[in-house]
């Protein structure tokens, strides 16, 4: 067990304030100088049911949830004691304890609410405690909370107990409480915090060794989620219009944006469905605003139609797709990377879109900005593809990531002066000109409704240069080729201006690991472990999904004997995409797949790699599967 890190898990029922409590505690750890990574596990219900939040804190960089955890605060599910008899089922009350024990590390610490949980009800509890050298502290957190305030404040008592057991200073926690609350509520919480702290300090023998690590940041850190990264990236690109329909986990971006847009002179619209949402983004963009929409799997399916319309009318929009476990409604609150092919190929005709898959909150910010820039410069829809894990999971990143100038440029818009001299036909502007001059191949000049001399018809039908419907074969080929040429020029520009596909680990390593999106951090930690063990491994997290980063991935794969493709789905969609895009390397690529609704842990990637090396490629367990190389 490594004790240079704390992985604190707070467990209870949904609606018990687990999330807000953990947010504050995570911030307190960050303020004390540590790097923090959070992971939310919650059921698809509003109140009750087993939920937990894990906070991993270390003075070293933390890029994943880590392996298992070493401190459990089990609060008890207050909604399991629903007075309506029929709503009560099973022994849910002990879940915050029993559900979490399997993943508690040896030597770990358990604090549980003796007012709500009874260890007698858990099979072999005492034996397991002894076997694993766990250190158990039973506190009447609920009683303490009730005594000084309200029952729900038992979270605060739990945090106070945690601080005492880990030898933490209460200062940061108290400051955060003062920011978040006021009046009697604040007073009661502060009192409960201090009482819990004192009683644990004075009344219990501390048998465990675990202490909060100490750290010191070189630069100011912020604790943000991937959804914050995406939202802030959009705002800094001048996005001032968003339309959406609530769907987990996309709702994160939708609500963050909506929180800020009115005060920033922007517009947010919650509309009747996702077809409308994406269509509104198109309408706003057509009229001259920077616009976005988005959804998750099922909602994105409805956007298939307007997505094609945006491609055909060459209206720039940015769509966010936050993946959750599918198919159909799947598991709404669980991450998966199963929508890759859906996002790449949905909508009729040849796909003509850009897809970025950022791997952490900082990349979410940078690549959303890139997605807007590309969309508006090239008049093409861009999609930012991420997942439930990255959507709600918070991570400490340097504040400086966001210290960038806004870019409100609409891109490729002509001026009214230009329009006076520009090519027209039948009184209409040649908006879809075949051979427009400019640095960006395939991009024709765009006018905005309201501009004098710029009128044209934007049509989802195949159209001629001024937009009129046309089934002329020559026009068809010219327009198709012009639209498709954009992807090549975008690829060229990306290769020249960005480094989305950095290699992690030793350049000359024998083995490679490929991943996309949110598995980035977990793979990097696995690479560190494998290299420490004497293996020779490097990794590449691919963000440029479409147009695909062919040159970078080819170079990476040419240099390794074999590569493990790590992804959270059952059918190896990303591996298939790599093979399809590169047309080779099939014999080098084998897969590590996980699709049980939980993100990878570093040890799973490590053992997946080792299992393959030992020649047991067909070894599978219930939640991780290895698939051997398939050939081209």
């Amino acid at each position: 067990m490594t004790d240079d890190e704390l992985i604190w898990r707070i467990a209870g029922g949904s609606g018990d304030g687990i999330d807000s409590t953990s947010q504050n505690f995570a911030k307190a750890l960050m303020r004390s100088g540590l790097n923090v990574f959070t992971h939310r596990h919650y059921p698809s219900r509003i109140r009750g049911g087993h939920t937990y939040v894990e906070i991993r804190a270390s003075d070293k960089p933390v890029k994943s949830r880590g392996d298992n955890y070493n401190f459990l605060l089990a609060l008890g599910d207050s909604f399991a004691r629903n007075p309506q008899e029929e709503a009560y089922y099973g022994n849910e009350e002990i879940k915050p304890l029993s559900e979490n024990l399997d993943e508690l590390r040896e030597g770990g610490v358990i604090v549980y609410d003796a007012g709500l949980l009874d260890t007698d009800e858990i099979e072999n509890f005492d034996e397991r405690v002894e076997e694993n050298d766990w250190h158990v502290y039973d506190l009447d957190l609920r009683g303490l909370a009730k005594e000084h305030g309200r029952e729900v404040m038992r979270n605060t008592a739990g945090v106070g107990a945690t601080a005492a057991l880990l030898d933490m200073d209460l200062q940061y926690i108290e400051e955060l409480m003062e920011d978040a609350m006021s009046g009697d509520v604040l007073e009661a919480n502060l009192q409960i915090l201090e009482e819990a702290y004192e009683s644990v300090k004075n009344d219990y023998d501390h048998t465990h060794d675990l202490r909060a690590p100490t750290g010191d940041h070189d630069e100011e850190q912020v604790l943000v989620s991937g959804s914050h990264g995406i939202s802030y990236g959009a705002l800094d690109e001048g996005c001032r219009f968003i339309a959406g329909y609530p769907m987990t986990p996309w709702t994160d971006v939708f609500t963050i944006m909506t929180q800020h847009l009115p005060d920033m002179g922007g517009i947010s619209e919650q509309v009747e469905d996702e077809i409308a949402a994406a269509s509104l983004a198109i309408g706003a963009s057509h009229a001259g605003a920077k616009a976005m929409s988005g959804s998750s799997g099922g909602g994105f399916a409805l956007m298939s139609e307007p997505l094609g319309l945006a491609e055909m009318t060459e209206t720039p929009i940015v769509l966010v797709e936050s993946m959750r476990a599918g198919g159909s409604t799947g598991m709404p609150t669980k991450p998966e990377q199963g929508d890759l092919e859906h996002v790449l190929y949905t909508s009729q005709g040849d796909s003509n879109r850009v897809v970025f898959a950022p791997g952490d909150p900082a990349e979410c910010y940078e690549q959303t900005r890139k997605a807007f820039e590309i969309a508006y410069n090239y008049q093409i829809p861009s999609i930012v593809l991420y997942d439930q894990k990255l959507s709600g999971g918070h991570q400490t990143i340097p504040e400086a990531v966001f210290d960038e100038e806004p870019n409100p440029d609409l891109g490729s818009i002509v001026t009214e002066q230009d329009l006076e001299e520009a090519a027209h036909e039948a009184g209409r502007f040649k908006r879809y000109m075949y051979d427009a001059e400019g640095d960006r191949e395939g991009v024709s000049p765009r006018s905005l409704p309201g501009q004098k001399g710029g009128n044209y018809l934007a049509s989802g039908n195949e159209h001629n240069e001024v937009g009129h419907i046309s089934e002329d074969p020559t026009n068809r080929v010219l327009q198709m080729e012009r639209r498709m040429a954009k992807l090549d020029s975008i690829r060229e520009e990306l290769d020249e201006t960005t480094d989305h596909q950095p290699v992690y680990g030793p350049e000359d390593a024998d083995y490679g690991i490929l991943s996309f999106g949110s598995t980035k951090g977990v793979v990097e930690e696995a690479v560190d472990i494998l290299n420490e063990e004497g293996h020779s491994v490097k990794a590449m997290n691919v963000s440029d999904i479409m147009p695909f980063a062919k040159a970078d991935v080819t170079e990476f794969l040419e240099g390794v004997d074999e590569a493990l493709v790590v992804e959270m789905n059952a059918t190896a969609q990303f591996r298939r995409h790599i093979q399809g895009q590169l047309g080779r390397f099939g014999e080098k690529l084998y897969s590590l797949l996980k699709y049980d609704g939980n993100p990878f842990e570093p040890s799973e990637v490590v053992s997946g790699f080792q299992t393959h090396l030992e020649g047991n490629a067909d070894v599978s367990d219930y939640n991780v599967r290895i698939e051997s190389a398939t050939g081209d």
Binding site: G238, I267, G283, A291, G450, L457, N461, I469
Partner: protein, 311 residues
């Protein structure tokens, strides 16, 4: 570039300005009611006083969707049933535009029915023209949401068991603040109604009866029509929801019995448009959003300034 011209002053406009210099060969059938809509729209434009450049016509798919090809303005030929969400966002982004949406009865009351309901509910300041010929035309004559009960077609060979949609009542109950019905066979009334609809500050719904001589041989049913405003037989308060609803009900029942009642059925001048409501609640900027991108002095806020809550 020069300042982006988001809002124009009303001015004298000639209807011919809305005709493309070389008019594309209209692909509507001879005798099609759609010609009547095009003509009425062009005639109504001078009364509104917006130039083609300040006008955005968003259409759906089908014969009606081709309106944007034959009407010279900024046009957006979208997809089946989706004209309204495209149009209303364009209006929000640039309220200076004269925004008109148009679609057919299948497009507007069938596949786009949900958007119709919600756009009316929000009372966006725009005009929605529904070409109502009780048939799917471009897909060759299938039963539509306004086809009468018992209507036989290739997709309902034994006659439709469905009652038709009640477009006027639907517009009213959804929240449209101007509801009218006119017909291609009465160009003068059609022109007046379209001009009124565009001048109206809110969601104006015009159910436009268009005969389909090819697929709906009963098109003659639209002649003769009765104008409810001109006739002494129909006396109701156009500003009273209940009276308007009753009148609509009568008109909708009568249509399938051969009596075509047209005219204005409901007008609410009091209710603010969605855009005004949003501006009043601080949910939308006073200045057109689209104009901001051309204002060199505008200071764009940075996300960096929002980070306090994350520290």
């Amino acid at each position: 570039m020069s300042a982006f011209n988001a809002i124009g002053e009303e001015r004298d406009i000639d209807r011919d300005e809305f005709t493309p210099a070389i008019e594309p060969q209209a692909t509507w059938c001879p005798g099609c009611g759609d010609f009547g809509v095009l003509k009425a729209l062009k005639q109504a434009m001078p009364e509104v006083g917006r130039t083609p450049e300040e006008t955005l016509l968003v259409t759906g798919i089908g014969c009606s969707g081709k309106l944007s090809s034959y009407f010279k303005s900024y046009g957006f030929h979208s997809i089946h049933g989706r004209a309204l969400p495209v149009a209303r966002a364009a209006k929000l982004a640039n309220p200076g535009l004269e925004v008109i949406a148009a679609g057919g009865d299948g497009d507007g009351y069938g596949i786009g029915g949900n958007h119709f309901m919600h756009t009316a509910r929000e009372n966006h300041d725009m005009t929605y023209i529904v070409f109502d010929n009780e048939i799917f035309g471009l897909t060759k004559g299938q039963t539509s949401p306004t086809s009468p009960k018992g209507h036989k077609s290739k997709t309902q060979p034994h006659g439709s068991a469905k009652s038709p949609i009640r477009p006027l009542s639907l517009g009213l109950t959804s929240g449209a603040t101007y509801v009218a019905r006119t017909a291609a066979v009465n160009p003068n009334q059609a022109k007046e109604i379209l001009a009124e609809a565009m001048e109206h500050d809110g969601f104006a719904h015009v159910d436009f009866l268009t005969q389909c001589p090819t697929w709906n041989k009963d098109a003659k049913q639209y002649v003769p029509y009765i104008d409810v405003q001109d006739s002494d037989d129909y006396d109701f308060d156009i500003h009273d929801r209940r009276e308007a609803a009753e009148m609509m009900y009568e008109a909708e029942d009568a249509l399938y019995e051969g009596t075509v009642l047209t005219g204005r059925f409901y007008v609410d001048d009091e209710r603010p448009s969605y855009q005004q409501e949003k501006q009043q609640s601080g949910d939308m900027p006073e200045e057109p959003l689209a104009e901001r991108y051309f204002d060199e002095d505008y200071e764009w806020e940075r996300s960096y300034d929002l980070l306090e809550r994350h520290k």
